[in-house]
Symmetry: C2
Subunit: 107 residues, 2 copies
DNA sequence: GCGATACGTTAGTCATGACTTACCGTAAGT
DNA sequence: ACTTACGGTAAGTCATGACTAACGTATCGC
């Protein structure tokens, strides 16, 4: 399983996306994160584990607490993966659109 | 469920990612697509339905066949969503890295 | 040292979804 | 018209994973 595969799988879950977005806005500890979510704290811990293994977040011990923040490399990996198709997709779409217009000229 | 949500959910599945990547390389019909995959043709049809509802692919009838191609808008939506966090993530990471180096100076 | 707080982990439950088989509609070839 | 190829849909099975409750560990304040 590649990093991109793990990252996409991680971001597919709505709860994990919410966690990810909140961490993007502001680094946060697990408890504070769970208090603002409709799920239990262990659930948040498990989600953070998945996000961490996907390279999307980093954790830093801070006393008894533990602060989580965004890891730019995770986002970068997905961006890079998408960019592989971006130009191809635009070309393919442009060719398709043109063939469409030519077809419309026929009648 | 937003478009980005659907797109991320769609690309989380390995089989759908393979289909998506093959369509990015070359537009293709359902049968030809299924022949190169370890799953049945109905399964491919179901995956294509998900990818289509996510705005990631477009289908065009071609006689008895039906050609699927990449829809750039789907990729664009994910890129735009990621870019929301990109700069924030870099800033956050830079600040974190700096606080780390200062901490290393202490001892 | 002791209670309290903050996290991670485990075990177990339950729902989601990926897959196959069977079936039905549609378009091209003979 | 009949047959063949292409593709979407329905029903049913099975595995994955999201969640909770309970437990164990480490850190801070008294």
């Amino acid at each position: 399983m590649t990093n991109v595969s793990r990252a996409l799988t991680a971001l597919a879950d709505p709860t994990r996306r919410t966690i990810f977005e909140r961490l993007a806005a502001q680094p946060c500890a697990v408890g504070a994160l769970a208090r603002g979510l409709p799920v239990s704290r262990p659930a948040v811990s498990q989600h953070l584990k998945v996000l961490k293994e996907a390279g999307l977040v980093i954790d830093t011990p801070d006393g008894a607490s533990r602060v989580y923040r965004i890891d730019p490399r995770g986002i970068g990996a997905i961006r890079h993966w998408l960019d592989q198709f971006w130009t191809d997709a635009l070309d393919s779409f442009a060719a398709f659109a043109e063939s469409k217009t030519k077809e419309d000229d026929k009648p």
